[in-house]
């Protein structure tokens, strides 16, 4: 088991989501859904080690996430979010190289990530002139280059059109099936993700429900209301 959440509560002054319990195995894909403001990003931030838990225990490979150093976390968890930083003059290749921490061998990781995300033709382009969709794929490729067992993605499909979204789904499938990467991602456009999801976490009214199988889109929507 890679990730275990035991009775955790997250939030700021008041808890947003309480008594969350979940277990995630290696190579699983978890889709986190919920209305705006229910605490999806806050829960993901807790898993990234940014947000302190209000109570309970979240562990990665059996060790509490809060006990990991930032360096250790960087070797285990890669993130993708919706922010679009200003990267004056950086090319796509520069972004991927920024994650490449070693020499020689990992060059192929960049090539592999470029191929997997089908962005080879963008590699020499300046990042600031890319469309939001292209940028999102670059950030997914960057996370792949980090070669971590767990990837946490906050709304990774939000800027993507239908074709791009389909392609990103293929990337996620391949990551979990071929590379054994565990993915935890939040999404508002979750219908297509249900095809490849291993678990769906539904946050509603301050509680989180874990659905393990038979994902029914209409049923999930009803739970969200």
């Amino acid at each position: 088991m890679i990730l275990e959440l035991k009775n955790i509560s997250v939030g700021y002054n008041e808890p947003l989501v309480s008594l969350v319990n979940a277990e995630v195995l290696e190579g699983e894909l978890v889709v986190l859904v919920g209305k705006n403001g229910v605490g999806k990003s806050t829960l993901l931030n807790a898993l990234k080690g940014i947000q302190e838990l209000k109570s309970g225990r979240a562990s990665l490979y059996g060790k509490a996430i809060g006990d990991y150093t930032v360096g250790e976390l960087s070797r285990n968890v890669a993130v993708v979010n919706t922010a679009r930083p200003l990267l004056n003059g950086w090319t796509v290749l520069n972004v991927l190289e920024s994650t490449d921490k070693s020499t020689g061998k990992e060059k192929s990781v960049i090539t592999e990530a470029l191929a997997l995300c089908q962005i080879e033709d963008l590699k020499r382009k300046e990042v600031d002139v890319l469309s939001d969709g292209e940028f999102q794929k670059v950030m997914i490729a960057r996370a792949i280059c980090q070669q971590t067992p767990l990837m946490i993605l906050d709304e990774p499909t939000s800027f993507l059109d239908v074709i791009y979204r389909e392609h990103v789904l293929q990337i996620f499938s391949e990551l979990k099936d071929t590379f054994g990467t565990t993915l935890v991602l939040s999404s508002h456009n979750f219908a297509p993700l249900l095809k490849i999801a291993s678990q769906v976490w539904v946050i509603s009214r301050g509680k989180m429900e874990v659905i393990q199988s038979d994902f029914d889109y209409d049923g999930i929507i009803k739970r969200l209301k």
Binding site: G49, L87, G89, V95, K101
Partner: protein, 329 residues
Amino acid sequence: MKRAVIHIVLMVLAVVLFYTEIRFGSIKMTNADFWDRLIENDPVLWAFRIPAACTAALAGACLGLSGWLLQTLFRNPLAGPSILGITSGSSLMVALVLLAGFSFSGIFSSLGLVAAALIGSFGVLALILLVSSRVKQLATVLIFGLMIGYLLGAFQSILIDAAGKSELKSFVSWGLASFGNYRDGQLWILLGSLVLGVLTVLKLGSKLDFWLLGEDYARSLGVNVKSFRMALLAVCGVLAGVVTAYCGPVAFLGLAMPHAVRMFYKEPHHLKFLTVLLLTGACAGMLCELITRMPWSSSVLPLNAVTSFLGAPVVIWLLVKSRKSKIRF
């Protein structure tokens, strides 16, 4: 290859500028006379021109480094050493000495204005670091710095209003900055600050690159956000504070230098950018000092007039270019 060529060109330029600075000035000398004076420890060269050239080179490099690191820290291409209120701290303390007759006793008395400026800048820096350690949002630190600047500026205007004519003249002249007022130990302190800045960049290495991706990404790549922020703020504060103490509040060099370098050297990785930035900063400092002294005439221009004449077009270019290339601020 291109990188090596740029380094060689900049080094040659630095040597040429240094030679021109010490060779030409209001006291005219023949070539033979110049070399004689150089060998014989002549005060015109050794007490004035050489220290001024070295100060200009070191201060230019320090300010360039400070501006560049602040632009990285705040992820804002218009950040510069003056935005943290550090320069205002120095200005207020200098105003207290020059305009209100405040004086130091003990070891500080011999340092006079330098001590005042250092105390002012490090005082503000300490406040900035304190705020930074308590708030999450970096933008809050930036706004705090700006507000401190306004607040100290307000005190300063009260002092200016109440000051006499001659005191006012000396304060205005300090505010126009100069690389030419040499004090004992100045070069070592400037060099020490520069070394501290360079070592910090070398230590942080690719973490500086990660930081540009945003705090979330930087953290996920192993950057300890709090200590990273504190280290950069402290180093930038020391660099800007020391230069302001010895040379006055030099305008534009820190803000414009990174952009000036990017006009001819586009390198996103901080470690590879560092040496080109330092050399360009040193050259720019010496060029400004040279123009200030106008070796062909006996008069001297205010340093800040020269840095603004050279620096403002760079920033305007940056704005025009950013409109074309869709870069957002």
